[in-house]
Point group: D2
Chain length 284, copies 4
């Protein structure tokens, strides 16, 4: 009957926050299983994440959030409670390049990604058979310059209709309009195939080859209206040499892309990632 | 007038620990700057590290430790307070291979290692000029099978006389006797030039070459009576190929050894490392 | 009409080998696209790999090998020619844990693994649907202590009947008998889920957790009669902390296992890997 | 009486190059110890590096270069021979930040860097005592906007007078004028404390902190007139988190800087690095 919850708290720094929060949890008979905090000294902002378990009577998220009001307001906090038994509903978008999608579905099938996947959308038909084999609905929404607005409306309507909590752009090779970016703010993760801020925009592996870098990378970030400028969640790199062609970089890079996106998504659904302006706090 | 302190707490897990500890600190008008905790669910043990600052009246460590008695005993805790303004006194031991010593002294001179170095000891004269140039006393304690007991007595006496908090074996190519190991329990860090538990004992790079591994490593660990079996603090690796000779491995490995030892020492003096049986907790 | 070939040469070191080999290729109007060599000075052995292209009249492998006889015998060489247009036939063996198989099939489907996969075998039914979805025949060969010999006979017969060039144990959780190991010598790659020689045998992640290592790894190696002692092709590691449970290590390790096995297999089929006693030469 | 040499060759790709070069070496009774080649298919350029040994009568570099003329001209090559017994003369430039200099001198003292260091120059006095302790002359050349031209003239004159083969900017915090860059073309290595092309120019760690990257890096490159745009020799990275301040990044980054610069310098003096337009070929 034990159930695990996450509490995320953010507020201006001052004395007594941890004491207040942990006393609240203690009064609720919660057992704190993990906790970490971060004090952004330059910004004077305090961030805390606690994972706690309850047994016996299990309150709703609304009850928890209401009960926390007094402390939260006293410290001018923003706070969220999450019930880890409720899996976030994730919409995955893909174009033709399969590896990130394949990797995510592999983890999901293996029970390693605690999410629901109500649908995969794509601007191409290529991945339909693979996705449907997993019993996941596949929506093909082709897009041209002329139909982009309408296509994005359909995209957005799916997000609503399917009650989506998070959109993952798993090598979805379309730049979202500002309007859609704004609508998905904080709820859309993209994988960019470079070590940002190097090689923004199109063809990052060609750019990397041209510059002669000795490592290539991938970056998972929240999507914002500024292309490839959103808050970074995770990055990693892989060594390359002068002998690698742009095609080799594409091949080598796919493993980094898959792993970086999977880590970012996992941390997001474990509620380890909190926005701090243009940056993220990623609780260990 | 602000001063920073560390509190380390370890006890059987139960509800209310964080609330009790943070309320204590809050009552002392302490500001918690960093905190993290670890719950070893298998062992039922809870570990916590908090860095907090005080201003105005500054209590002594003894006052803090006494004040904490009531909570500590109530939860069956082991607890320690450390004043970060008091630098640990570290004795470095070296033989002929200089790179770990050179690296540590470079960091220390650059103000990056908050320690005192009352002395360097060695079983050889080789590093005397370099050490003395840093205005650090150098004790040469040659050792043979016949003189080992006496040499270790002198070693131990220096630890006492110089009021040493930590001994760092920075490529000190002598196996300490069980007696000396026991005496320095939890207070002696060694750097072993392999990725333990691979290649214990002598000549790890030759062993690694013979086995044809594709990565070589280094391990910093607390010294215990079981050679190369002590609790691991930090490890890292470096890629090698079939084309590298044992001499190449020695050359490549020196960078990993230096960095791994420096990280372990830094974390130890920042009081991030806590023993958990044969293992360590290293607080982020 | 251009076609690419690999030449692998191994012989006692002496003057003039490269000149003789490259003159031979030059006379055949071959264009050397890649070449590298390795001189094991301790063993006095010379290894060379050249990738060359031909156009116009394309000789057979037998013609190339016969034509090379004179030089080869003059230098006491062992030599092999491979036609890169002929894809090796690879049999993949798996038990229940899917990630290495999933990863290999993903690469293969994406055109990144130039191999044929005539069959997947397993001692369980779990992966049948996934494999058959790829239009690859799936043979389930259950095994118990009592039936092991017969099961291995069936395994070996499949290797013969399907004209298999290489067997890949992609988390096939069975120890092969010495007889089968001998039969597959140099033609069977295993992925072991530890950084060998640490944590041989069963439960390497539990062993790693117990020892408190700070990095976990994976090792791809040729299978020999000595369990987990075969020549290492590739290894890699991933950082872990005290907070990771054995189950976390399993989850984190799967990515390293997949990538290490994929690299080893790729290098094998690109004919970059040559046995050098108990070790490998892996040509860059 | 054995002596080792390096031959570097670069030419338009065509058949028979390796055969011609290796036959030449074979006729000279040279033993090829290492060799590798690279074919830039896009550019149609071929690069080769061979390390060979001679014994008995040892020719001069001029004799070797002259003897090679016929082949070299026949294939429109650029070629260089180097005698590994002749150590390059390296001038190190530093400002106040010591770690790269300290690291290089440590390697040099340990016999791991086969170079002469005729002098260290700096625009500050800070490192004089440390450098002079190594019996290396120290030239302090202070610089202001007003005196920059004169200071660079003195710098250039030292390069001439001391017969310098290579200048290493080991955290020399001055931007060289275009005139001096041109003069030192291909003979000057800089370490930049970011993963280029990210964070060019001043304050890369502040820029990295502001962007919230999860890895920081360092880049060793040849100096050209375009600031931080020169051909990259080596790069590496180190993981950081949201909790690291800009000062932490500086501290963490110093290890990457030291190692990356040391690798680049080592490869340069081993003649592994060849310019390929705006990029480098780094022979393994």
């Amino acid at each position: 009957m034990r159930r695990d919850y996450i509490l995320i708290v953010q507020c201006p720094d001052r004395r007594g926050i941890v004491a207040a929060v942990s006393s609240f949890l203690s009064q609720k008979h919660a057992n704190i299983v993990e906790a970490s905090q971060f004090m952004d000294e330059a910004a004077g902002q305090f961030y805390m994440r606690a994972r706690f378990s309850l047994d016996g009577h299990l309150p709703t998220i609304t009850e928890l959030e209401n009960g926390f009001c007094e402390i939260g307001e006293c410290f001018s906090m923003r706070w969220e409670f999450h019930d880890l038994a409720i899996k976030p509903r994730v919409l995955i978008a893909v174009s033709k390049i399969p590896h990130c999608l394949t990797d995510l579905l592999g983890r999901w099938r293996a029970g390693l990604l605690p999410i629901e996947i109500p649908a995969v959308i794509s601007n191409h038909e290529d991945m339909r058979a693979f996705v449907e084999w997993h019993n996941i609905p596949y929506y093909c929404l082709p897009v041209t310059a002329a139909t982009k607005t309408g296509q994005e409306d359909t995209f957005a309507r799916l997000v609503d209709d399917l009650d989506i909590d998070l959109v993952v752009l798993a090598r979805y090779m379309q730049v979202l309009s500002s309007r859609l970016c704004a609508r998905l703010a904080g709820k859309c993760i993209n994988i960019h195939h470079s070590f940002l801020p190097s090689f923004k925009g199109a063809g990052p592996y060609s750019q990397a080859h041209k510059r002669g870098v000795k490592l290539i990378g991938a970056t998972a970030h929240y999507v914002t209206m500024d292309l490839d400028e959103g808050p970074i969640i995770e990055q990693d790199v892989q060594r390359v040499t002068h002998a690698h062609t742009p095609a080799d970089l594409v091949r080598i890079g796919r493993d980094v892309e898959s792993v970086v996106l999977a880590r970012a998504l996992t941390w997001h659904v474990e509620r380890r990632v909190v926005l701090n302006g243009d940056k993220t706090v990623v609780f260990p």
